[in-house]
């Protein structure tokens, strides 16, 4: 039983690490700020969730698991807010998405 839980938590942790790695590769490969933010959100979402899930399996049914779940909820609530602040600041500073289809009536 303990071994099965260990295997499960390792699968979750390695899966999370994989998504963090792919997110990092994406940030390097994609062409501009806006497209790179899409890659970074892999790290924010499944990467984080799988790693927290893996640590929760290790912690079992304890207060530590409740705290980890709360951390996951807070990250999922604040992550997109920070991303929005970054994207909005870039747009207001006049950085336009490269090679993107824009709505016609948007002032260039």
């Amino acid at each position: 039983m303990a071994q099965a839980l260990d295997v499960l938590s390792w699968i979750l942790l390695l899966g999370g690490a994989g998504f963090v790695l792919i997110g990092g590769i994406g940030v390097l490969r994609l062409p501009d700020l806006y497209t790179r933010m899409h890659a970074a959100s892999l790290t924010d979402t499944l990467g984080t969730l799988l790693i927290i899930g893996g640590t929760m399996v290790q912690a079992g049914l304890t207060l530590a698991s409740v705290k980890l779940a709360a951390i996951a909820v807070f990250l999922l609530l604040t992550g997109p807010t920070a991303t929005y602040a970054l994207a909005n600041a870039a747009l207001l500073a006049g950085l336009l998405p490269r090679d993107a289809d824009m709505p016609e009536d948007l002032p260039k």
């Binding site: 806006y34 933010m37 890659a39 959100s41 892999l42 994207a87 909005n88 993107a100």
Partner: protein, 167 residues
């Protein structure tokens, strides 16, 4: 500050919120020494000052029925998250990433600011789509591919978020 508090803010709600914050502090900390309890009280008061400055207590932001509807919505969003994560991971790792960046305007079906914030954040949370602006319910969304933009315009997420706020 004191005058503003007495004249316009609902005292009972503020006291109840303070109590909840302090209980949360006790739960997270788990240590009951005078120093840590004092720091907890100070933190709660500091958060109260910031919330008052934000006008947090002047509008009904959280109601209980929203919380109950959020749980099934989060379940649906979680499924969307997994699908989108795999999709973007495949694009990133392909030999020549097939991207067609597209910016679209999306009219939020939800009339209130909280619903629009939930919609904007849900869009951003899903990999492949990022909300870059919200002007009075008109969201500007940057999508990594044209297909993602089209599926967003079909509006399932928009409808689900709007349904959260219906009475």
């Amino acid at each position: 500050m004191a005058r503003m508090l007495l004249s316009t803010e609902p005292i009972m709600r503020i006291l109840l919120t303070l109590l909840l914050w302090f209980l949360a502090w006790l739960l997270w900390s788990g240590m009951y020494k005078p120093l840590l309890l004092g720091l907890g009280v100070l933190s709660c008061l500091l958060v109260l000052v910031l919330s008052l400055r934000m006008g947090f207590f002047r509008q009904d932001v959280f109601s209980l029925h929203l919380v109950w509807r959020l749980l099934p919505f989060w379940g649906w969003l979680g499924k969307e998250l997994i699908v989108a994560n795999l999709q973007i991971a495949r694009i990133v790792m392909s030999r020549r990433p097939a991207i067609s960046p597209t910016v679209i305007k999306l009219d939020a079906l939800s009339p209130d600011p909280v619903g629009q914030a939930i919609l904007g954040n849900s869009i951003t949370l899903t990999p492949g789509t990022v909300t870059v602006d919200d002007h009075e319910g008109e969201l500007l969304v940057h999508c990594l591919t044209r297909e993602l933009a089209e599926s967003l315009q079909e509006g399932e997420m928009n409808r689900r978020v709007a349904a959260l706020g219906k009475d």
